[in-house]
Amino acid sequence: MRGRENRNLLLMVAPAIIVGAAFFLLPLARLAVVGATGKLGLAAYTAVVTNPQYFEALASTIVLSVTVTVATLVIAGITGVFLERNHFFGREALISMLTLPLAFPGVVVGFMVIMLAGRTGLIGELTTYFGAGRLVFAYSIAGLFTGYIYFSIPRVILTIMAAAEKLDPALEEAAKSLGANPWRVIVDVILPALKPALIASGAVCFATSMGAFGTAFTLATDIKVLPIVIYTEFTLLANIALAAALSMVLGVITWATLAACRVAAGSTAAAAG
């Protein structure tokens, strides 16, 4: 009886396995092989660490992604809880505006950063007008940071709002009745309850930032992020093996981070019941 159910289940998921293998695992395996069979051989994989140029790109990509993730969680966390709790005129409009960036490709986001903080950007015009000189930061790490934050916020804010909706107000009132001030209520009650949502949306935010290409490409910044390096190696230098190896490294790091987050979220979800 049980065996038959298992067999039926297997039959049902078989198409998914086949499609998954064809479109995901096979190219991935091919990529891994290509990476190891260039003129550098397996050394292409270690080049990420040994070659200062690649290593710097990897490091700055990780630093940028972590910073963007933390900043996004703080901003979207506070905003999400606020929007969930306060009903004011224009709230719906504000929410749909905050989620607008979901519709834009990275190139458009980069374009918007240039219009905001580029050489003829709005911020530059304003600072010039007030006699503070022309402030331009679109092409620096600050520009990247701005663009990444912009497309990260909506992904996090919606998850946080959904989680904040499920917060039990009685828990906060119980903590207060026991003498907890508002700050302690946040630390002891609200954050633990939001933790699974913060981890899950933070992981998505990190992965998106690690792999983001369009924004960085448009801004053509002075710092190189890994996706841009991969593009350059592949398209301009035809260094296919190295591009494949770098892609694998990028993928593995991101995948490992996501997996670690899932484990962490799983244990807190179990702890929170």
Partner: protein
């Protein structure tokens, strides 16, 4: 336990209107003596929780209302500085902490040293007889166990006042009965002032030193359970608490005349009127020579007592309860005697 008498609570002209215009509480003034348990009883939506939240400091009363703990005006004191213990219907235990950490939370917030904290937690676990649950996760507890932990957590900080909002409503009948007795013993041994909200009149009668009956946002009567039961001030109170017979009769020459006979009442006046009495105030007597006569229409055996519906006594069937062991047959003719003092006339 802490030796001193509990904190007296006084509400002066407290009303509550919510921003959406709902008037949840009419202007209410109320005094609770130190160490007293006052039960707030009323139907759903009558404003019980709102009243409790005003005492707690979770809602502020409309302008003009004041809340006093002893002689201290706490109206503008936020809940975290009022030192009140709260017990919620939903328990509201912290899911990210185990039982011991839940109980210790208030002590931790108050900056009590870890060793002193641990001793107090032990004390509470023992008092609530849940020592073996110490390290359990909240999700691994039954409803009754959760409620004990919630009580322990609220009491651990030795609050000035304990506020309980339908603490037993989510439990099954048997457990409710047992915990009700435990809470009653606990409140009196602690000597703490307690406000207890319920819509269950049995619970109110058992736990309250005094009961305040609430209807549509206003306290309509306050008194001991006995006063509320036997001397209801209005037909709302009479109907809300227990079963009340309500019959039409005529007062003539100091006697009340009913279709089934007459009872000497000794009241002034005359004319038609409505009279009330409790089912257990009508005693069953032999039919011959009885002041009132009727016929048994239905019999309900309830274990500790028997409930009869009797026709012929009044214009409608009356409910009579007896603890006698005798058997009653449907159609049997019986006599009833009601002491004059048990008859009630309401002003409204």
């Amino acid at each position: 336990m802490n030796g001193k008498a509990g904190t007296a609570i006084r509400l002066a002209d407290c009303a509550k209107t919510f921003p959406n215009g709902t008037r949840a509480l009419e202007r209410t003034s109320l005094e609770m003596r130190g160490g007293e348990t006052v039960v707030f009883l009323g139907p759903s939506g009558c404003g019980k929780t709102t009243l409790l939240r005003v005492i707690a400091g979770l809602e502020s009363p409309d302008p003009g209302g004041r809340v006093y703990f002893d002689d201290e005006d706490v109206t503008n004191l936020p809940i975290e500085r009022r030192n009140v213990g709260m017990v919620f219907q939903s328990y509201a235990l912290f899911p990210n902490m185990n039982v011991a950490d839940n109980i210790a939370y208030g002590l931790k917030v108050h900056g009590v040293a870890p060793d002193k904290r641990a001793r107090r937690v032990d004390e509470m676990l023992e008092m609530m007889q849940i020592g073996e649950l110490r390290e359990r996760r909240i999700t691994e507890l039954s409803g009754g166990q959760r409620q004990r932990v919630a009580l322990a957590r609220a009491i651990a900080v030795q609050p000035r006042v304990l506020l309980l909002d339908e603490p037993l409503t989510a439990l099954d009948a048997l457990l409710r009965e047992r915990l009700r007795i435990e809470i009653d013993v606990l409140l009196h041994s602690l000597g703490i002032t307690a406000a207890y909200v319920t819509h269950d009149q049995g619970e109110a009668m058992a736990i309250g030193d005094r009961v305040a009956v609430i209807n549509k946002g206003a306290i309509v009567q306050t008194g001991t359970p006995r006063e509320i039961y036997y001397k209801p001030a209005s037909s709302f109170v009479a109907d809300f608490i227990g079963t009340m017979n309500r019959v039409d009769g005529t007062l003539r020459d100091g006697s009340l005349e009913l279709p089934g006979g007459r009872i000497f009442w000794g009241q002034e006046g005359s004319g038609a009127m409505q009279v009330l009495f409790r089912p257990n105030d009508a005693r069953i007597v032999p039919e011959a020579g009885a002041p009132l006569r009727g016929v048994v229409e239905q019999v309900f055996f309830l274990g500790d007592r028997t409930r009869l519906h009797v026709t012929g006594v009044a214009d409608r069937a009356v409910v009579v309860e007896t603890t006698e062991h005798g058997e009653f047959q449907v159609g049997q003719a019986i006599g009833l005697r009601i002491e004059p003092g048990a008859l009630l006339r309401l002003r409204d």
